[in-house]
C-alpha cells in the first residue's frame, strides 16, 4: 500500500472510532440532542453507574412439593369418584408422594389421570410417586415464567429505568436494576408476595367508563368501584362496576392451570382451598348467570359468566387460544401463590461509589499514561513521540470500538484500559529496539527500518495472540464485572497491535521518506 493509501485508511479508522468515542463520552443528553453524534454508546456497568444485580433461582423443593400436592388433589378426587380405595396419602421430603390402599386399582388410576408426569414405584404396602424428569423441567419453566411476569410488573411499578429481566437456564432469573437510588433492602420487597388477587361479582359492564356511568344518572351506587379489563398493550376493552369488597381473595385459590375440554379447546382449571370452596359454592349457587371478575391489583384478568354451582374445582371456558389461557392461569397463580424465589447472587453498588470508581479509574489512567508518555519521549525522543501518538490513537480506537459494539464498561474494564496503556507501548518497544540493533550493524536508516518492522511483526503477533487467548478465556469463564475486563483486554490487544503496525509505521516511514540523516530512536 502506498503511504497515501495507508494514511487515508488510518484516518478513516480514527475518524469512525473517534466519532463513536466522542458520542459515548459527551453524555446521554448531548448525544441525543445532536444530529451529528451516534446514539449507540458505551454502557456503564452496574458497578460504575450504581444499581442492583440479582441472580435468583426457583426454590426447587417448594416448587416440586407444590406440584406433587396438585397431583395428590387430582388422585384423591379421582379415587372418590371412581370408588377406588385410597387409605392415605403423605408427602415425604418434598419430593415423594406416598399412597396407601388398593394398589392395583390405584396404579390404573394414576396411569389414567396423571400418566407420564410421575414415576411410580411400589415400596411394600404403598406406592411412591416422584415427578418425572420432564415434569420437573416443565415445573421449573412454568415457575420461571410466572416469576418473570410478577417481577416485571413490580419492577416497572418501582419506576426503574432500563431494567433487565431474563430467564437464565434451568430455574434461574437474572434481574438488573440500574440506578443506585433504590436501596437493596427496599428492592427486596419486590420478591415478597404483595400481589393482591380478588374475586368480585360484576354489577354492570359497558364498553367504556362513560357509558357505564351514564347508566347511573344519580352517581354510582355506594361502595362500588369501576375496574377495567385491558388488552396486552394496555388499551381498555371493557369497564366493569364491582363492589369495593371482594367475595374471595387470592390466598384461598390453591391452583390455576391450563387444561383442555372434551373438544380439546383450552380452558383454565382452578382449585380452591377448603375455606374458598365453601364460600365459592354458596356464591355460585346464588349467582348462576351472573359474571365474576378476577382482579389483580385493580386490573381485571378475566370476568367469566357463572354457568353452574361450583365447589372446589372449576374451569373457565371461552374462545381463547392456549397462549391466552396460559397467561390468565399464570396471572391467577401469581396472585395466589408466593413465588418460591431465592437470591443466589447479589451485587449492589451505590451511585456514590460508582462515581468514585469512575473518577479513580480515570485518575489512574491519567497518571500512568502521563508517566509512560514522558518516559517514551525521554528514551526514544522523536520515535517516542510517534509511539505516544499511537498510544493515544489506541485509546480512542478501543473506546470507539466498544461504543460501536454497545459493550459494557465495568470497573475491571477500566483496569483493562489502564493495563493496555502499559502494554500497548510494548509493540513499539519491540520495533524500536530492533531498529536500533539494525542501525548498530551499520545498516542504512531505510534498511534498518524495513528490517526492524518486518522482523518484529511476527514476534508482536505471536506475543499478543497468547495474551488474547487469556482474554478470550476470561470472556467465556468470567462472571459479572470481570467479564468486562476480558472485553477491554481483548479489544485493547487487537487495537494496540493495529496501532503499532500501522500508525507508528506510517509516522516512521514518513520521517524516513523526508531523507533524514539520523533517525532519533
Amino acid at each position: 500500500m502506498s503511504q497515501r493509501a495507508r494514511a487515508l485508511w488510518i484516518a478513516a479508522v480514527v475518524l469512525l472510532t473517534g466519532w463513536a468515542a466522542t458520542s459515548s463520552l459527551v453524555g446521554r443528553e448531548a448525544r441525543e440532542n445532536s444530529w451529528l453524534l451516534s446514539d449507540q454508546a458505551l454502557n456503564l456497568g452496574l458497578d460504575l453507574r450504581g444499581g442492583i444485580h440479582w441472580l435468583l433461582h426457583i426454590d426447587e423443593p417448594t416448587a416440586f412439593s407444590r406440584e406433587l400436592k396438585h397431583f395428590e388433589g387430582i388422585l384423591t378426587d379421582a379415587a372418590e369418584d371412581e370408588g377406588v380405595e385410597l387409605a392415605g396419602t403423605q408427602l415425604r421430603d418434598d419430593r415423594v408422594l406416598e399412597l396407601e390402599g388398593d394398589l392395583g386399582a390405584l396404579l390404573e388410576l394414576i396411569e389414567d389421570r396423571v400418566g407420564s408426569s410421575v414415576d411410580v414405584e411400589r415400596a411394600g404396602d404403598r406406592l411412591e410417586l416422584r415427578l418425572s424428569g420432564g415434569t420437573r423441567d416443565e415445573v421449573l419453566e412454568r415457575s420461571v415464567s410466572q416469576a418473570l411476569e410478577v417481577l416485571e410488573r413490580r419492577v416497572n411499578r418501582l419506576g426503574v429505568t432500563e431494567p433487565v429481566l431474563a430467564a437464565q437456564g434451568a430455574g434461574r432469573i437474572l434481574v438488573q436494576m440500574p440506578g443506585g437510588e433504590i436501596d437493596p433492602a427496599g428492592a427486596r420487597a419486590i420478591l415478597e408476595n404483595t400481589t393482591f388477587l380478588e374475586f368480585k361479582k360484576v354489577l354492570a359492564a359497558a364498553d367504556n367508563e362513560e357509558l357505564l356511568r351514564a347508566r347511573y344518572p344519580e352517581g354510582l351506587p355506594e361502595a362500588t368501584v369501576v375496574v377495567f379489563s385491558r388488552t396486552p398493550e394496555g388499551d381498555p376493552i371493557e369497564a366493569l362496576l364491582v363492589p369495593a369488597e371482594p367475595v374471595l381473595t387470592g390466598d384461598m385459590l390453591q391452583d390455576a392451570r391450563v387444561g383442555f375440554d372434551r373438544r380439546n379447546r383450552p380452558e383454565i382449571d382452578f382449585t380452591w382451598n377448603a375455606a374458598g370452596t365453601a364460600i365459592f359454592r354458596e356464591f355460585t349457587s346464588e349467582n348462576v348467570g351472573e359474571r365474576m371478575a378476577a382482579i389483580i391489583d385493580g386490573e381485571v384478568v378475566t370476568a367469566p359468566v357463572i354457568q353452574d354451582r361450583i365447589g372446589r374445582q372449576g374451569r373457565i371456558t371461552g374462545s381463547f387460544t392456549q397462549e391466552e389461557a396460559g397467561q390468565v392461569a399464570i396471572s391467577l397463580r401469581s396472585g395466589a401463590l408466593p413465588i418460591p424465589l431465592q437470591i443466589e447472587e447479589e451485587r449492589s453498588v451505590g451511585p456514590a461509589l460508582g462515581a468514585d470508581s469512575v473518577v479513580k479509574g480515570v485518575r489512574s489512567i491519567a497518571l500512568g499514561g502521563t508517566i509512560v508518555i514522558l518516559f517514551m519521549l525521554l528514551y526514544y525522543s522523536l520515535s517516542g513521540l510517534f509511539a505516544n501518538v499511537a498510544l493515544i490513537v489506541n485509546l480512542v480506537v478501543i473506546i470507539g470500538l466498544m461504543s460501536l459494539a454497545g459493550a459494557t464498561l465495568t470497573l475491571p474494564g477500566i483496569a483493562g484500559l489502564v493495563l493496555t496503556v502499559g502494554m500497548a507501548v510494548d509493540a513499539n518497544v519491540i520495533i524500536f529496539e530492533r531498529i536500533r540493533e539494525e542501525l548498530r550493524r551499520d545498516k542504512s536508516i531505510r534498511n534498518a527500518v524495513a528490517v526492524g518492522f518486518s522482523r518484529s511483526r511476527l514476534t508482536i503477533l505471536d506475543a499478543n495472540i497468547t495474551t488474547l487467548i487469556a482474554a478470550v478465556v476470561l470472556l467465556y469463564f468470567g462472571r459479572g464485572p470481570v467479564q468486562g475486563f476480558g472485553v477491554t483486554l481483548a479489544v485493547g490487544i487487537v487495537s494496540s497491535v493495529f496501532c503499532a503496525l500501522t500508525v507508528t509505521r506510517l509516522l516512521v516511514d514518513l520521517t524516513v521518506a523526508r531523507g533524514v540523516r539520523a533517525l532519533r530512536i
Binding site: 443466589e344 451485587r347 449492589s348 483496569a415 507501548v425 505471536d462
Partner: protein, 273 residues
C-alpha cells in the same frame, strides 16, 4: 500453600461483603468496634477491614456463611451497625454469593486456568516446536504459583479479580517468553544448533532491553492503579504487580533454561517454520 489454603473471596466461598461508610457523627470508630458489634449479634468470624484513608471512614465487613442465614444479611449488617453506633451508616456496596454459584465459580475458575494453559501450549507447539512449549508453560505455571502463593502466605483474599489478574500474568509472562523464543529461533537459523547455550544467551541479551522496558512501562501503570485505583481494584492491581515482576525474571531464568535442558536431554531443537 498446601497447609494454609486460600483465603477464598466470597465469590468462591459463598457469603456476603458490605462496604460501609461511617458518618463523622459516630466519632472515632475502628475495625474492632465494628467487629465486636457484629459478633455481639451472633455473627462470629466477621472480617472487618478499613479501606481507603482514615478520613474516608470506609470499612468492608465480610462474612462467609450459608445461603439460608445470609439471605437477609446485607439488610442486617446495616441495621445492626446503625443500632450499635447510634447513627446511620451508608452502604456503598453489597455483594452476596450463594453456595451454589460459589462452587460453580470455583469450577469455572479452575477450568479457565487449565484451558488457557492448554490453548497456549497448543499455540506454541503450532508456532514453534513442541520442545519450546514445556519451557513456556513451566514458566507461566511458575508465575501463577508464586503470585497465588504470595496471596496464600499473606492471607490476602483470593477473588475473581485476582484470578483475572493471574490470567493476565499468564498472557504477559508468555509475551516475554515468546519474544525471546522468537529471537532464539531466528538466531538458530543463522548460527545452527551447535552452540545452543550461546545462541540462547545471545538472544536473551538482545531482547533484554525490550523485556525490561516493557516491564517498566507496565509496572508504571500498575503502580498507578495500586495508588489511585481505589480499594475495589486493589487486589487485582497487587496481584498484577507481583505477577509482572515474577513474570519478567521467569522468562529469562526458567523458560530458556528449560529449553536448553530439554535440548541436551532429547536432541536437537528444530528451527521450525
Amino acid at each position: 500453600m498446601l497447609f494454609r489454603g486460600f483465603n477464598l473471596g466470597i465469590e468462591f466461598a459463598g457469603g456476603t461483603v458490605s462496604e460501609l461508610r461511617i458518618p463523622a457523627a459516630a466519632g472515632a470508630v475502628g475495625e474492632g468496634a465494628l467487629r465486636s458489634a457484629m459478633e455481639g449479634a451472633g455473627y462470629e468470624g466477621t472480617v472487618v477491614t478499613r479501606i481507603g484513608t482514615p478520613e474516608e471512614r470506609d470499612f468492608s465487613v465480610s462474612l462467609k456463611r450459608s445461603q439460608a442465614e445470609e439471605r437477609d444479611l446485607s439488610v442486617n449488617v446495616e441495621s445492626l451497625l446503625n443500632q450499635a453506633l447510634g447513627t446511620e451508616v451508608e452502604v456503598r456496596r453489597v455483594e452476596s454469593i450463594g453456595p451454589r454459584v460459589g462452587s460453580e465459580l470455583r469450577t469455572a475458575a479452575a477450568q479457565a486456568l487449565l484451558i488457557s494453559w492448554g490453548c497456549i501450549l497448543l499455540y506454541i507447539w503450532f508456532r514453534f516446536d513442541l520442545r519450546y512449549a514445556p519451557g513456556a508453560v513451566a514458566a507461566l505455571i511458575h508465575d501463577v504459583l508464586i503470585t497465588a502463593g504470595v496471596f496464600v502466605l499473606l492471607g490476602w483474599e483470593f477473588n475473581l479479580q485476582v484470578l483475572a489478574a493471574l490470567l493476565v500474568v499468564i498472557g504477559y509472562s508468555l509475551n516475554d517468553t515468546i519474544v525471546i523464543y522468537d529471537r532464539i529461533r531466528e538466531n538458530l537459523e543463522v548460527r545452527g544448533t551447535t552452540h545452543l547455550e550461546d545462541v540462547v544467551n545471545q538472544s536473551i541479551n538482545q531482547t533484554l532491553s525490550r523485556t525490561l522496558l516493557t516491564s517498566l512501562t507496565t509496572l508504571i501503570v500498575v503502580v498507578a492503579m495500586v495508588a489511585l485505583g481505589g480499594p475495589v481494584l486493589r487486589g487485582f492491581a497487587v496481584a498484577l504487580l507481583i505477577g509482572v515482576v515474577i513474570g519478567t525474571y521467569s522468562t529469562i531464568y526458567v523458560a530458556s533454561a528449560l529449553l536448553i535442558f530439554l535440548e541436551r536431554r532429547y536432541g536437537s531443537v528444530t528451527a521450525a517454520r
